[in-house]
Amino acid sequence: MPSRTRRRSLWSIFIALTLVALLTACGSSSNSSGGTNSGTGASVTGPKNALVRCPSNTNTTAASPETGQIHLVVAGWSSTPAEDALVKQGLQNFEKLHPNVSVTWTPIPGDYATKMRANVASGNVPDVFYLQPPMAQEYIPAGKLLNLSPYMARDQVSPSTYYPSLMQDFDCADGTVFGIPKDWNSLGLFYNKTLFQQAGLGDPSNWTWDDLKNAAQKLTKRGSSPANSVYGIALPADTSRWGAFLFANGGQMVSADGKQALFNSQAGIQAAEFYTSFKQNHTGVMPGDVGASWDGDAFGKQQVAMTLEGGWMIPFLAQNYPKVQYGIAPLPMGPSGKRGNLLYTNAWAAYSGTKYPGMAWELIKYMTGAEYQTQVLHDGFALPTLTSLANDSYFQQNPGVKVLQDGAAYGQPDFYGVADTEIHNDVSNALQSIMLGKQSPADALNAAAQKVNTWIQQNVAP
């Protein structure tokens, strides 16, 4: 029975790790304020983030770049070989700028957050690493991250050179900065130009929800089974898509402190009704319905004419379905003429216990600076976080990417504070329940909200 042995080994790993966690939890609050202080002690702040408590003890000065032979360990993940190559290139360029530094890039395969948590528990943390928003809310209050505000003040890197909606996730309540967004993505309406032409549909750039609904109707051509049908749109039962509709309808996911679910408001119920109506009217499908593993797959196979995805679709389609003629339009406007979008971003951050805080900052500064961010954009891998690159010539050649970039102006991060995981799970389940006709939108969302609120009451540390 392989399942049993696997479980048991998982268990022993987990228990060994918790042991280590217990042992280290008490004695690991040392913050590095090492290095010579060359700053004035001044600080800058980014957008205040009420979702994350500030640490009680953190460095308030900036260390100058260390001299002598320095070895930095840098961790992250690589979703594609292209991403891996890009990061490696960037790190190599950094090494050229700082000949006394050697950098080891150690991408972590699999569950990044879990592996990093184990690293933190054992005190074996990379100097510089990728930081996901849910990680930030754990790492920041516990004082595990290098405070970047003094460094930004010293080197005159203003937080406002980055999109505030992206910065926010990596700041704490008073706006102190602990991570700088490394790249990002938002959602766009991907539409199949060929299928649009056949259905006599024009450019969807200024569509409203009603336009989307009518278009899905026109685009759907049902055959004897889902396999030989074409549907208007692929919409998965996923919080990370529906959220854009919730926001466009003026709704909110959680209260400002993240401790109260608000998605079951009238706006939320209406958004859920609209989002699930496609599946109910058979003008939309979940990707699994047509045997696709995700939206991109269904879209590439031309079984759906539209879907909501981000910039990662561009290299995916180019590689797997190069013949599909598609365009990218902004998400349709809600009933009150408002647009909503979700922003997905991760940051570069440094460990507070690093031996080389000065050099760690230099690395972060380089990887979030104009030179590397331009490469990120030109590689077509993700969007740059610097506002100064918004008018880069790349956008003229790729108007679709420009649409995604514009999302930063009206989108919100797909991160909802303490109950983030619970909200994503419960709302996704609620959407699925509505789509499968098991519950009404109001019932499903109310039940999910109650579950989230109970979860917060029970599990958020006092």
Binding site: M1, P2, S3, R4, R6, R7, L10, W11, S12, F14, I15, A16, L17, T18, L19, V20, A21, L22, T24, A25, C26, S28, D111, T114, R117, A118, V120, A121, S122, E138, Y139, P141, A142, K144, S225, P226, A227, A237, M286, G288, D289, V290, G291, T421, E422, N425, S428, N429, Q432, S433, L436, K438, K451, T454, Q458, N459, A461, P462
Partner: protein, 320 residues
């Protein structure tokens, strides 16, 4: 044997020593030490990775622990009360346990029957018996993740199974998307992979049944059906207990198949969420180690109770 022999032996050659009560004990001590030296590597692993781990997990279940970020907070029975709330309010752990029970009943019943059936078949003197034994055992030797991926493809709406059904003019469902077919689909996969292991256990047990019993029965005029029900099945009861108990323990802890095929949230609609997946999610996604430990203990107690019941009702000692 060794210990008994040394005890029986009279004292050593020296008369003075004979009066000391240590003589025998010292030898005994040496032997005990030798035994423990040989056992040491295993005991070390057992103590560190099992005993200490269990005690730690039990301790942690009374704390709020988040994996090294904050100092643990003593919680008393709060984690267990939260589980009770979860169980009484249709929470995720309740859903996971419910699925586990359904899954265990389905899997254990069918796989035990199938294993016995296959064992009886392969116990006959048929041509190519060795070949069939090997073929039937193959699924058990394959990685469960690899098998899950193959079945994932077979269960797709346009996958292998629906293709075969379409040849019979039956429109197959989207197996893994439908809440009522997803769990049974995983059950089938698991039965297919684990039944052969238990078939092997039954085969071994079948060889142990003395042929004299069958001969005597035949003389008394019993037919094969009667021999199966009156001799084979009752005499296999200890093996059946082992098969059912091991099967139930494995089924209750099911994780990888559902995780690979349906993802961590047990889609669709929690229908493939298992208790082990909830524990994983609590510990690693939500970083609530204390609660996860408490959940693990609740699961352990349930499995323990189920096994005791099975021992009570199946493992009766039958003698003729």
């Amino acid at each position: 044997m060794q210990l008994a022999a040394s005890k029986a032996r009279p004292g050593g050659p020296s008369g003075t020593r004979r009066s000391l009560p240590f003589k025998v004990n010292r030898r005994k001590l040496t032997e005990t030490l030798t035994a423990y030296t040989f056992l040491a590597p295993y005991l070390f692993v057992l103590i560190v990775f099992t005993l200490i781990a269990i005690v730690t997990a039990l301790t942690l279940s009374f704390f709020y622990v988040d994996f090294g970020f904050t100092t643990p907070i003593f919680y008393g029975f709060r984690n267990y009360l939260n589980i009770w709330y979860d169980l009484t309010h249709d929470g995720d752990f309740a859903a996971g346990l419910r699925n586990c029970v359904e899954y265990t009943i389905g899997v254990v019943t069918l796989q035990t029957t199938l294993a016995l059936f296959l064992a009886l078949l392969l116990n006959q003197k048929v041509h190519g018996r060795g070949f069939f034994r090997t073929i039937f055992y193959l699924p058990s030797m394959t990685s469960s993740v690899a098998i899950s991926l193959i079945f994932y493809w077979l269960y797709q709406p346009q996958g292998g199974i629906n293709y075969v059904l379409s040849l019979l003019h039956i429109q197959g469902p989207a197996w893994l998307e439908n809440p009522s077919t997803a769990l049974p689909a995983i059950m089938l996969l698991n039965i297919w992979t684990t039944a052969p292991t238990f078939m092997l256990m039954y085969l071994a047990a079948l060889q142990d049944i003395p042929s004299t019993l069958y001969e005597a029965a035949r003389v008394d005029g019993a037919n094969s059906w009667q021999m199966l029900w009156k001799i084979t099945v009752p005499l296999l009861r200890p093996t059946t207990f082992a098969v059912v108990a091991l099967g139930s323990i494995g089924a209750f802890q099911m994780f990888d198949q559902a995780f690979v095929m349906e993802g961590a949230s047990g889609t669709p609609l929690r229908s493939t969420l298992t208790a082990a997946m909830v524990i994983y999610d609590t510990a690693f996604q939500k970083s609530l180690m204390g609660l996860a430990c408490a959940q693990a203990f609740v699961l352990f107690i349930i499995i323990f109770a189920v096994t005791l019941l099975q021992k009570r009702y199946i493992d009766a000692n039958i003698q003729y």
